[in-house]
């Protein structure tokens, strides 16, 4: 007869968080909506690579949107996890809601890790192919590469997706309402992204597309007077004058800070009162700093 | 107004009934015949009791075999509707509408059971709620009721219209002893003019209530007879001792701290009178 070792409870919340995190990560990675998101993003990515650019720089500009369906899926998977907190199960457990939420967030970070991996692989592939084209003549390049901070936008978006899912799942009584709210928030974020390209609203965009188009002169001006390092876009159907196509790692970096601030704010909404105050405050500050610094970076 | 298909109020016939979930045979080639009265279905968890009851309640279609309820074939949509007009079904742990009161919920079920005359329907609703002991709380929201009271709301819904066939899945769940006594009276009344099939884990209930008991395990019926006959299966096979007997089929500690053993008693063992529990354990534990 096998003798089992007596079951002894650990008194360390960190171990409980890790154990819960492993369970939640396992559930979220197997969630069918994640598979759907990965398939759609994969199809979108394949279509973007397969077909020639509609305009110079199309692939460079569109790339940050490609994982949009995955972000929706992450939010929905995390919402399901946090919605389970509304079911009173093991109310007598020594671990409180903060610890359980910590486990869920840790599980959500597994999805962030997945997105990070995808983004890293994509960046390596682009680098191996020699880069992407960007800009019109003069100044057009065929070797544009994403800065590290631009690549980090994807994991930052994934963290925001975790925060959004946590807030919606925990605070809305109906699971269906949470899923619909998340879809309604994410869908225009991904597909109306062009609406946030103006200089005044770029810092507030959720998905930041670079380059940012900045008007520099009227149609009649001579573009050679501008620095050779500038990427320019000539007048045409959509613009009356010359535009500078501004790309910046710093802009992307501060945008990532903004996203992480929003994520902290939303995560705070999902948590009980104690950690909520800290996270919401920190999130508001980070988001404000991120937005302000973006405005300062943009010429 | 449609002409009701003639039903045979007390008749229930099952032949070779089988239901599979993937590779698991939840109900395995079951045949039985009932002609009124009250039948108890005993069995361990996972025996297939709920699956069998769902088929008798026309909620689940079998994969093989034939079924005739009240003389009709439930595989025919028209007959199925007719059966349901004379059927009351209490599922296991049903979900109720928490914002409804018992009166509103049972009234809604009554409408769906085609009792459209408002006055008669409401009288019937009050009757069944009173019969299950919920007269005092019929205007309270269901979410404020205890689990036992909620169980009785669902039971009241099943009793609407005095159905000829009552299929009850663990109707005594959450009931206290006094409520169980009341349930026994209700079921006895139902069995007087129709057929009542109920599942339970409680052998004491079966002993008092059911002139006929079926023991089910592993999807099969292992015993079909009276409670007395089930008890007699264990006659001469029960003995008690200070320690558990390793040669016994089953052995467990009693409230007095001694061990009750079931199987072939050794020479000189102190034999005990068999109970219904002993007979059930002997029968249900022999599957395989």
């Amino acid at each position: 007869m096998t003798v089992l070792a007596p079951l002894v409870a650990t008194r360390r919340p960190s171990r409980v968080v890790l154990a819960l995190g492993r369970i939640e990560a396992h559930r979220m990675l197997r969630h069918p909506v994640l598979a759907g998101g990965l398939v759609l993003s994969g199809v979108h990515g394949w279509l973007t690579l397969r077909f020639p650019d509609d305009w110079s720089g199309a692939r460079y500009t569109v790339a940050p949107m490609l994982l949009g369906p995955v972000m929706i899926a992450i939010s929905m998977a995390v919402a399901g996890s946090f919605h389970r907190e509304r079911t009173e199960l093991v109310a007598d457990a020594p671990v409180g809601e903060e610890v359980r939420a910590g486990g869920r967030v840790l599980g959500g970070l597994a999805l962030v890790a997945l997105v990070t991996l995808i983004a890293a692989v994509a960046a390596i592939v682009i680098r191996a192919r020699g880069g992407l084209d960007l800009g019109d003549a003069p100044g057009r390049t065929l070797h544009a590469q994403f800065a590290l901070t631009e690549v980090l936008q994807q994991p930052s978006l994934a963290v925001l997706a975790v925060g959004a899912g946590a807030a919606a799942g925990r605070r809305l009584r109906s699971h269906g309402s949470a899923l619909l709210l998340l879809f309604t928030a994410w869908f225009p974020t991904i597909y109306v992204v062009w609406g946030f390209q103006g200089r005044g609203v770029v810092p507030f965009s959720i998905i930041q597309l670079q380059p940012v188009s900045l008007p520099i002169t009227t149609q009649a001006a001579d573009p050679s007077q501008y620095p050779a390092s500038w990427l320019l876009s000539e007048p045409g159907e959509y613009q009356s004058g010359w535009m500078r196509l501004f790309t910046s790692g710093s802009l992307a970096g501060w945008h990532d800070v903004y996203l992480l601030g929003l994520a902290a704010l939303l995560l705070g909404v999902a948590l009980p009162r104690g950690p909520r105050v800290v996270l919401v405050s920190a999130g508001v500050v980070a988001a404000a700093v991120g937005v302000t610094m973006q405005y300062l970076v943009i010429p | 107004m449609t002409t009701a298909t003639a039903i045979q109020p007390r008749h229930l016939e099952v032949r070779g009934l089988t239901k599979r979930y993937g590779r698991i045979e939840a109900v395995d080639d079951i045949s039985l015949s009932l002609n009124g009265g009250l039948v108890g279905l005993l069995g361990p968890n996972g025996a297939g009791k709920t699956t069998l009851l769902r088929m008798l309640a026309t909620v689940l279609a079998p994969d093989a075999g034939s079924l005739r309820l009240l003389g009709l074939d439930p595989s025919s949509p028209r007959h199925r509707v007719e059966i349901r007009r004379n059927l009351g079904y209490l599922p296991q742990s049903p979900d109720l509408y928490p914002r409804f009161t018992p009166l509103e919920l049972v009234d809604y079920v009554a409408v769906l059971k085609e009792h459209t005359h408002r006055g008669r329907r409401q009288a019937e609703v009050v009757r069944v709620l009173t019969a299950v002991g919920l007269a005092g709380v019929m205007h309270r929201r269901i979410r404020t009721l205890s689990s036992g009271q909620q169980q009785r709301v669902a039971l009241a819904a099943a009793l609407l219209g005095d159905p000829a066939l009552l299929v009850l899945d663990e109707p005594a769940t959450g009931l206290d002893p006094e409520q169980r006594l009341e349930l026994r009276s209700l079921l006895a009344a139902g069995a007087a003019h129709g057929t009542v099939v109920l599942s339970t884990h409680n052998t004491a209930e079966v002993a008092v209530l059911c002139p006929r008991v079926l023991v089910m395990s592993g999807g099969r019926i292992l015993f079909d007879g009276t409670p007395a006959a089930l008890r007699e299966r264990a006659d001469g096979m029960v003995w008690e001792d200070e320690v558990p007997d390793p040669a016994a089929l089953r052995s467990w500690m009693t409230a007095e701290g001694r061990y009750r053993n079931l199987g072939s008693p050794p020479h000189g063992a102190t034999r005990c009178a068999a109970t219904l529990d002993d007979g059930y354990i002997l029968v249900a534990g022999r599957r395989g």
Binding site: S41, F187 | Y97, K113
Partner: protein, 187 residues
């Protein structure tokens, strides 16, 4: 004595309406109005109509979930009849809400009811035919379909065209879904 189905459903309308989960419909419509307000200056490119149709259709399919389904499994008023009854109640409320949204949201003013109906009936058909564990995923069908259409956006040849049928040929989707629902009427 049996009662006419119409009489039964008429008597069941008010309790059925109370039993419907309205929260997804309310949340979806409220969120749509908010998003429309925030994106009112964005160029019109079909995103808002797609979002409005998908979300409204999914909310209606969500609202079909009946927590009393198990309790009511053996009543003579069958599951399909009860499902369609609930759907008609939801549509009766959602339709005026849709028309109101069209009035206040410029982005969807040109969208008729057919695309929403097409997506909604497709979701209902999925709920009828999906195996038991997957039934809860039926409301996801309108969302998934519209997202896939936005991703593919006319590429992928005929397959891409089919993805766009909910808006380009909603009659085909609507009729196909209704036929599927009819074929599953005894489920």
């Amino acid at each position: 004595m049996t009662a006419a189905p119409a009489l039964v459903l008429a008597g069941a309308t008010w309790p059925a309406a109370r039993a419907v989960t309205w929260a997804p419909v309310i949340v979806a419509d409220g969120a749509l109005v908010l998003v429309a307000a925030l994106t009112r200056r964005a160029p019109e490119d079909g995103t808002m109509p797609a979002l409005a149709c998908a979300t409204t259709a999914a909310a209606c399919v969500f609202a079909l979930h009946d927590r009393g389904e198990v309790l009511l499994a053996a009543v003579p008023t069958g599951p399909m009849r009860r499902r369609l009854h609930r759907l008609s109640i939801v549509v009766a409320v959602a339709a005026p809400a849709w028309l109101l949204m069209r009035a206040v949201m410029p982005g969807i003013r040109g969208v008729g009811v057919l695309p929403v109906l097409a997506l909604m009936t497709a979701g209902v058909a999925a709920a009828v035919w999906a195996p038991s564990p997957a039934v809860g995923g039926a409301p996801a069908l309108p969302l998934l379909w519209v997202t896939a259409d936005s991703v593919v956006s006319g590429s992928l040849g005929p397959a891409g065209d089919v993805l766009g049928w909910w808006r380009a040929e909603p009659w085909i989707v609507l009729v196909s879904a209704l036929l599927a629902i009819l074929a599953g009427r005894h489920r």
